[in-house]
């Protein structure tokens, strides 16, 4: 930034020195004002883009300590790290952290606020959208990716389950179904677009079952399996078997063939049934995805050189430099005669698109041992946010690249026009003015890398049928890829009523 400012003031000096028509004092003041104004604008756009990076740098390591209350307090003291445009993220992040801290009512207070903000953002500002075409997408209010919105409502439902209010959890199911309907309508025949979530429908199925509404439970189970079949999360084998048995019990054999379910390999002795008394352990494991940029940028200096750069989220960089031919004689003659010359002027282009950055985590799976059962239960993955993010980026690649290219071209045209206006008879002055302009337009181009990086990598589930009225205890262990225990927790004193479904939540983000 200081470089850009220096360039501008230096260019102003050279313009005054070499330009035969020295501007009067008012024009000089106007030019200085314009330069400072442009500098402030560029700082604003740069700061919009860098907030995501600052948040990630500050909290990425802290999250592994699992000291969520410290992080919450820190976030509450620094709302400027989000700003007005990222209000949704602010509330969602704090809500998620409260959920991990098992403070479910506070979690819902923030998550419901985030849901309200999302509703309010339905109306788009024309000026804001137009400005983002010229600058970058980070100035648009953050509206979440569809799977993030689903996880928002899912966490609200989880919180209500933890607070023993299945009815309120089902309100979230119905609310989310309206969004799914609207996304399906917009997607039309395109099956690649995210318009249903396997995890959400599976949990909804459990909730409907808890209320004794077996028809709705089967419909939700059908939607869940269908969403698993469409990807990107693979259908777990245990869930295939469970669905097969439940459709059989509920006389829905046609659904089994529609969903291409495979008959269970073994004939289980304890088949599931409607309204079963269960302990349901919901496990959040590993660090969720983060977005970074893949950037291509290059500068061509007329009669100088061509520099091309590339950088991806893994930190791989490449730079290629080619020298341009020496200053042609005609340009030298022009400079000697005090005529304007193109020599020293630059042409700059930068394109940045968001890319997935996977954070490696130790936690892979979980095991749960119940006091009334001999063997442990292994968790099954019902959502994978790395896959969801990758799927989202692939689906939106075309529109993102189109938008980015249009923006880059418009900005380049505007920058070229500005440079043309400031052309002088000095190649050095031209170079300084042009570099200054290029740096400022360069700073404006930043990919929208905002996302809720506090989300887990996977959501996993264990369902344990138990006898009502018998006190139970459960041992939960988070396991690494070799099956070694990373951390564990024992929960005692669980006595369920008949047909009750008791939800337990456990988080291991390491």
């Amino acid at each position: 930034m200081s470089c850009a400012v220096s360039c501008f003031f230096l260019s102003h000096f050279f313009v005054c020195q070499y330009n035969r028509n020295i501007p009067d004092s008012k024009k000089v003041m106007l030019k200085a004002f314009l330069q400072i104004f442009i500098y402030i604008i560029a700082m604003f756009f740069f700061s919009c883009a860098s907030r995501s990076a600052v948040r990630f740098e500050k909290y990425s390591e802290l999250i592994t300590t699992e000291n969520y209350s410290d992080i919450i307090n820190s976030l509450k003291k620094s709302p400027k790290l989000y700003g007005k445009t990222n209000e949704f993220l602010y509330y969602m992040d704090i809500g998620a952290l409260y959920h991990y801290s098992e403070i479910y009512d506070s979690s819902n207070r923030y998550l419901l606020q985030a849901a309200d903000i999302y509703d309010q953002l339905f109306t788009r500002s024309v000026t804001n959208e137009a400005l983002s075409i010229l600058t970058n997408d980070n100035i648009r209010p953050y509206r979440s990716k569809p799977f993030e919105l689903t996880m928002l409502h899912q966490m609200i439902a989880f919180n209500f389950c933890a607070l023993q209010s299945i009815e309120d959890a089902l309100v979230e199911t119905r609310k989310m179904q309206l969004y799914f309907n609207e996304w399906e309508r917009k997607a039309g025949k395109d099956e690649e677009v995210y318009a249903n979530d396997p995890m959400f429908h599976l949990v909804s199925s459990i909730l409907y079952n808890a209320k004794g509404e077996s028809s709705d439970a089967m419909i939700s189970l059908f939607k869940s399996i269908s969403a698993f079949n469409n990807g990107p999360v693979a259908l777990p084998a245990e869930l295939n078997d469970y669905a097969w048995n439940m459709f059989t019990v509920n006389n829905r054999d046609n659904d089994k063939s529609l969903l291409n379910l495979k008959a269970p390999l073994s004939d289980a002795t304890n088949k599931p049934f409607n309204n079963e008394t269960e302990i349901i352990v919901v496990l959040l494991g590993g660090r969720g995805p983060v977005l970074d940029e893949t950037v291509w940028w290059g500068t061509y200096v007329r009669d100088g050189l061509l520099i091309l750069h590339y950088r991806n989220p893994n930190g791989d960089t490449a730079t290629v430099t080619w020298p341009a031919p020496p200053i042609p004689e005609r340009e030298l003659i022009k400079a000697e005669n005090g005529e304007k010359t193109k020599s020293g002027t630059t042409f700059h282009l930068k394109i940045a698109v968001p890319s997935l950055k996977v954070i490696e985590s130790a936690t892979k799976t979980f095991s749960v041992k119940c006091s009334s059962h001999e063997s442990s239960y292994q968790s099954m993955i019902i959502n994978d946010f790395d896959s969801q993010m990758q799927h989202y980026l692939e689906n939106t690649k075309k529109s993102t690249v189109t938008r980015t290219v249009i923006r880059a071209v418009l900005r380049t045209i505007a920058a070229e026009k500005a440079k043309k206006k400031l052309e002088t008879d000095s190649p050095l002055a031209n170079l300084l003015v042009n570099i200054g302009t290029d740096i400022l337009t360069d700073q404006m181009e930043n990919a929208d890398t905002r996302n809720c990086f506090f989300l887990p990598k996977t959501v996993q589930i264990v369902r344990i049928p138990v006898n009502a009225g018998v006190q139970q205890s459960i041992d939960i262990a988070a396991l690494d890829k070799n099956g070694a225990i990373i951390k564990n927790k024992k929960i005692t004193g669980l006595t369920l009523e008949k047909n009750e479904k008791r939800f337990i939540f456990y988080t291991s983000l390491n």
């Binding site: 109306t123 788009r124 500002s125 089902l170 309100v171 609310k175 609207e182």
Partner: protein
Amino acid sequence: MNKLVVILTLFIVMVGCSTKVSRVETSSTMDLTGRWNDTDSRLVADELIRDCLSHTWLTKYDSILRKKPVVIVGKIENKSHEHISTETFVKDIQRALLNSGRVEFVADKNEREQIRDEKADQASNASAPTAKSSGEESGADLMMIGTINTIVDQEGKKAVVFYQTNMEMVEIESHKTVWIGENKIKKYVERTNTKF
């Protein structure tokens, strides 16, 4: 002149942006978001109770038993897509019933727990003449239960939201349903796609 215009504009913007508060009548209708609000709760409660009290089930208590029926409000289940404060709705129902003077109320399940705790405390700590004895609770004759459902038809910025509230009065002894009431509200909600 230009300076004056700039100063005036800034002043107007600053004044325009300050928070405004004005008190309104509690009975006034104000729909801001299209969601279930206090007006809906009040109107539905009043309408349902008017319907309830005009039906023949009261005759048994008025003419035959010659006593006011004792009612307890049970669960009002929210089967909608919005978080509706059913407690507010239940209080509106109770208020409407009680104010009619034709029924009596007993405490609901949660309230009874609190009262029983208080009685147990009085039995240990209060003086004999003032302590309230156990086993003297009034049993309810009827229980009022209900559901709130919604059907939403939505496309883009437009939505039609249909609220249906169903209430039943059930005799506790015989489990007979003596009254079923229904109230419907339909709202058309249109949001703006864009703003300046």
